[in-house]
Amino acid sequence: MLQKKKKNILELWMKNQLADEGLREDLISNDELRSQSEELITALVGNLSGENFTDLESDEWSPVIEILGGIAITRARQGFSPRETGNFVFSLKEALLEVLQQEITDDPKTLFQESLKINRLMDNLSVVTFETFIKGREEVILRQTDEITEISTPVIRVWDGILALPIIGTLDSARTQIVMENLLQEIVETGSSIAILDISGVPAVDSLVAQHLIKTVSATRLMGAECIISGIRPEIAQTVVHLGIDLSNIITKATLASALAYSFKVMRLEVKKLNTVSKF
């Protein structure tokens, strides 16, 4: 029965969708919306049979779920709100119910049963839609997280043989991994013997962060380079001592400048002001 009414349903659905005030014409064109809807209905009607009506696990449903999932994910990426994505499915339900009502006019009992079935089916489909929608959103978030960690750990070559790595933001274990890997890789590539880890931008140092720092310093030493920690603010020095964290094995300096001065001393370099008067 639904097969015959396919066209009818589509028209109604489109009408419902277009009537919705929340329609985002800025994000999707009418034609695109129509082709999406048509594709979904074709799959839905084509795979519909009496037995599998409520059983979403069955194989016949997988193409429908796939199409729906695809639509949900694209919408998540395009920036649709959950309400707008939900309305896409709910308006189909409305359309189906309306058609059903027109068809079965004489038998309220059948109408009720069929409506119930359609309700159940569409509810299941909307759950699927939301699941995939949220997954799509999560993917966007994960990608952004990756990008942030990537840009937040630059290794700077401040002098021949001296690397600096300013850390900004909280230092958690995932971040430490990336910092450590980047730093060690850079040490190998540049053959630097001193690395300065500047923590001016780290809001707080607790025992866990300290552990991460110690780990990085130890790994650097194993490679045969020295690691200096600079940018320790007075508050951080206070908390470190109050927490009883032992940093005595690590060379620590208050500022990046003093760390650099120390590195020059170790490398037996001297920075001097020239005595001769500049001609310019």
Binding site: E139, L142, Q177, E181
Partner: protein, 137 residues
């Protein structure tokens, strides 16, 4: 939920088998695009566990699996032997504990290198150790 995607069992009875096992583990790790540092962690963990198996139980078997959980892929290794078993698991998991003449870093160190670590042992029957290392984690 963790799904197993492929499965491979390798018997480890002599020293050549150890090399073969490590190569297979490495291939598997490369196949799922595991980063170099994580590969090294996994292989080091594997090396520790297989040495324990050789030393205390005269060998055993290792199952290499590619597992998947959500969008994350990983390698699961299951080492099972029919050796003497571990009488005191909590002691064995402490740094510096060893019944043999080693540093006693094998088990606790291995646990620090992998994402999941499970040890089951019965005295007189054997030991089963399962570890999972995720490709990015």
């Amino acid at each position: 939920m963790t799904l197993s995607l492929s499965k491979d069992t390798i018997q480890v009875l002599k020293e050549q088998d150890v090399v073969f096992l490590k190569n297979r583990v490495k291939e598997t790790a490369v196949k799922i695009k595991m980063g170099l540092v994580n590969q090294t962690r996994l292989l080091t963990a594997c090396s520790e566990l297989v040495r324990n198996m050789m030393r205390y139980a005269n060998g055993g078997a290792c199952v290499i699996e590619v597992v998947s959980s959500g969008r994350n892929n990983g390698v699961r290794l299951t080492f099972s032997d029919k050796g003497p078993g571990i009488p005191d698991i909590s002691a064995a998991m402490q740094d510096g504990f060893s019944t043999g003449k080693s540093l006693g870093l094998g088990l606790p160190g291995t646990k620090r290198l992998v994402n999941e670590f499970d040890l089951k042992s019965k005295v007189g029957e054997g030991t089963v150790i399962t570890i999972i290392k995720w490709a990015n984690g």
